[in-house]
């Protein structure tokens, strides 16, 4: 498991270089082929015992982040999210820009006219300790800014930034190392998922997969403040299977195959009980000739924030499930 290293790395959409490099170093020599495509997707190939099917595993390397959009006269920095971030999670936080840090302050409580005023990126600024533009050194418009949370592990749970989707990346490296796939398998680490499924949109034009499994860190929402029957997923209940999300309804054949394997191997699983959000599955299914896709996720609380939480037991069970699927021939009879 490389969750610690991977979540501590910074890799926003369009700035995945550090994550890609780390993964490449880990899997080089353990796969039969490896290349980086025009958009920056890292595609590794591992030969299976049979070549009758081409299976793709996908996880996205990018995390939600920020971009500096202006260096202001007063020495502050304006910024915008790269990916979907609620501005409320940034207030009072520290961000990293290259080797510098800055803080996102806010008007003191005493000076606010209305306590429930809306926070917007229009007004938020990063303060790097400069009081005029000339004092801002080595930071330019277009630079990325990142949450600074360090990975922490406690009592079977991890707290980190970027669990969405370094958890998928870590699982994929584990699978490269430990799984003996039945069929030829492509391990595809994509770019730009958080800005609209960018990387995965060019995968099918290159690979013509027969089926794919997307590995994600998905939203939990298992909070006392939400009705229990409105929870999307629950930490500790095992890997999450998605049946429907934006732009794609999961193919019955693959969904049933995954359930069959989980039950046979006695691996706990849960269905995602919300249909919100979307994953690379939608692009794999609808670009070029298309291929059916499944989504298997580790439930994560508070995704798209600097403090997301996941259970290591869920991670382990997700690994087991996907490994078992890869090493089975369950998909053979199910695909045309």
């Amino acid at each position: 498991m490389y969750l610690k290293e991977l979540t501590n790395l910074n890799g926003g959409s369009g700035d995945e270089e550090r994550v890609r490099k780390f993964i490449e170093e880990k899997i080089r020599g353990k796969v039969d082929d490896l290349r980086i495509d025009n958009l920056g997707n890292l595609i590794a190939f591992k030969k299976g015992k049979k070549s009758s099917l081409k299976i793709g595993l996908l996880a996205h390397m990018d995390e939600v982040s920020f971009m500096i959009t202006a260096v202001n006269e007063d020495g502050t920095l304006s910024f915008r999210p790269v990916g979907g971030i609620d501005p409320r999670v940034v207030v009072g936080k520290t961000l990293r820009i290259k080797d510098k840090v800055g803080v996102v302050g806010y008007r003191p409580i005493h000076l606010q006219r209305e306590m429930k005023e809306k926070v917007t990126f229009d007004e938020l600024r990063i303060n790097v300790g400069a009081s005029k533009k000339e004092e801002v050194k080595d930071i330019e418009v277009g630079d990325y800014a990142y949450f600074t949370t360090e990975y922490e592990e406690r009592d079977g749970f991890v707290t980190a930034k970027a669990l969405d989707d370094r958890v998928g990346c870590s699982l994929m490296i584990d699978l490269v190392e430990k799984a003996e796939p039945t069929y030829d398998t492509f391990f595809i680490f994509t770019v730009g998922e958080e800005v609209g499924l960018l990387g995965s949109s060019v995968v099918m034009e290159q690979l013509d997969l027969d089926a794919s499994i997307i590995l994600e860190g998905t939203t939990a929402g298992d909070l006392p403040s939400a009705e229990k029957d409105r929870w999307a997923t629950h930490l500790g209940n095992g890997p999450v299977l998605t049946f429907f999300h934006r732009g794609y309804v999961i193919d019955e054949r693959i969904l049933k195959a995954l359930i069959e394997v989980a039950e046979k191997e006695n691996i706990p699983y849960q269905m995602k009980r919300r249909t919100a959000g979307g994953t690379d599955a939608a692009m794999i299914a609808r670009t070029a000739k298309g291929a059916p896709a499944a989504v298997v996720s580790v439930p994560c609380r508070y995704i798209h924030s600097p403090v997301s939480i996941a259970s290591l037991e869920d991670y382990e069970n997700t690994f087991k499930l996907v490994k078992a699927v890869l090493e089975s021939d369950i998909l053979a009879g199910k695909l045309p």
């Binding site: 369009g14 700035d15 025009n38 990018d62 959009t69 202006a70 229009d122 418009v141 960018l198």
Partner: protein, 331 residues
């Protein structure tokens, strides 16, 4: 500069609403003398390179412009209209328009009720498309049918050296491509460069993306316009300071860096535009065409986008053209 100004004015005055791009394509074809039509109504002009290992570079500008469409009959020479691409209804009252009918052009106006008889509750209210009426009663209005396209009847002008008119989004880009083609002849171009005048950008219709796929290009340079207004939270892009080179997840980073270096080496003014999400241009789709294309976005600063009084600085158009040529020749 005179040539640039003339070209901008000429192309601005052509009417080519999205999907009905033929008039602009014909005009550009006349200027470039060579080219072939694309399936979706665009034009490709090829400039062969002389390198031993030639890359395929596509340079894109869209020829279509935002427009209006006749959406319903209101009787007696009056019609309702809708927008095709984003036209702000606030700019429409008291405008002259041209209606392109199957039987030729019919002239009309979009009127507004005189203040004397405007009821108090309607005074100062912004009129949406439901409240606006196209009035062609003064012309041969029986030729007008639902589905006919409407453009504002305005002529370009010069303002203190700047050019003002409609459709400079993206005829300014088209002008830059035409100038770049000329400029390229003076350079040693290693690469095969395809100048693509694409259709249907304003309706997200994929005119550029499909050509990118068909041509199987290695690199794309998308040339469009960008806001020269101050936007809260963003560094201001200014007119007269050269093309804005985009940076963001939809743009190839190395290519953007290379473009900045090339601009510096050749003394070409340029600005940086942060694009944290989608760019809102053909770059978003071209980047995802085929197996994924390394894409650069150059944007010409423009004021009052999607109005009949868009303003660009011809210097920016020329700087953009030089940058296109240098980048395309040397990749």
């Amino acid at each position: 500069m005179k040539k640039t100004v003339d070209l901008l004015k000429k192309l601005s005055s052509v009417d080519a609403p999205s999907g009905w791009e033929d008039r602009a394509v014909e005009e550009i074809e006349k200027i470039l003398k060579e080219g072939r039509r694309t399936k979706l109504g665009g034009l490709v002009h090829e400039a062969k390179g002389r390198g031993r290992f030639r890359k395929r570079v596509g340079v894109f500008a869209h020829v279509d412009e935002v427009s209006l469409v006749v959406s319903a009959e209101a009787g007696d020479g009056f019609f309702y209209i809708e927008t095709v691409g984003g036209v702000d209804p606030k700019i429409l009252p008291a405008s002259k328009v041209k209606v392109y009918t199957r039987d030729g052009v019919v002239r009309g106006v979009i009127g507004i009720m005189a203040p004397h008889i405007t009821p108090p509750e309607k005074k100062g209210k912004v009129q949406g498309y439901d409240d606006l009426l196209l009035d062609v009663s003064m012309d041969d209005w029986r030729k007008v049918r639902v589905g006919d396209r409407v453009v504002l009847d305005v002529q370009p002008c010069e303002l203190n050296g700047k050019v003002c008119g409609k459709a400079l989004d993206d005829r300014a880009g088209c002008t830059a491509l035409i100038l770049a083609r000329e400029f390229l002849k003076k350079l040693f171009s290693k690469n095969d460069v395809y100048f693509v005048f694409s259709s249907m950008e304003e309706v997200g219709g994929g005119g550029a993306k499909t050509v990118a796929h068909e041509l199987k290009i290695d690199y794309a340079i998308v040339v469009d316009v960008t806001f020269a207004e101050k936007i809260e939270g963003y560094q201001k892009i200014e007119i007269g300071k050269g093309p804005a080179i985009g940076i963001g997840p939809f743009i190839d980073r190395e290519l953007a860096k290379r473009a900045m270096e090339i601009a510096k080496e050749n003394g070409i003014n340029h600005q940086i535009e942060a694009l944290p999400m989608r760019t809102g241009t053909d770059a978003d789709d071209v980047r995802r065409a085929w197996v994924g294309i390394k894409t650069l976005l150059l944007s010409i600063p423009l004021l009052h986008m999607h109005t009949p009084v868009e303003i660009v600085d011809p210097k920016d158009v020329e700087e953009t053209a030089r940058l296109i040529a240098h980048v395309a020749a040397s990749l």
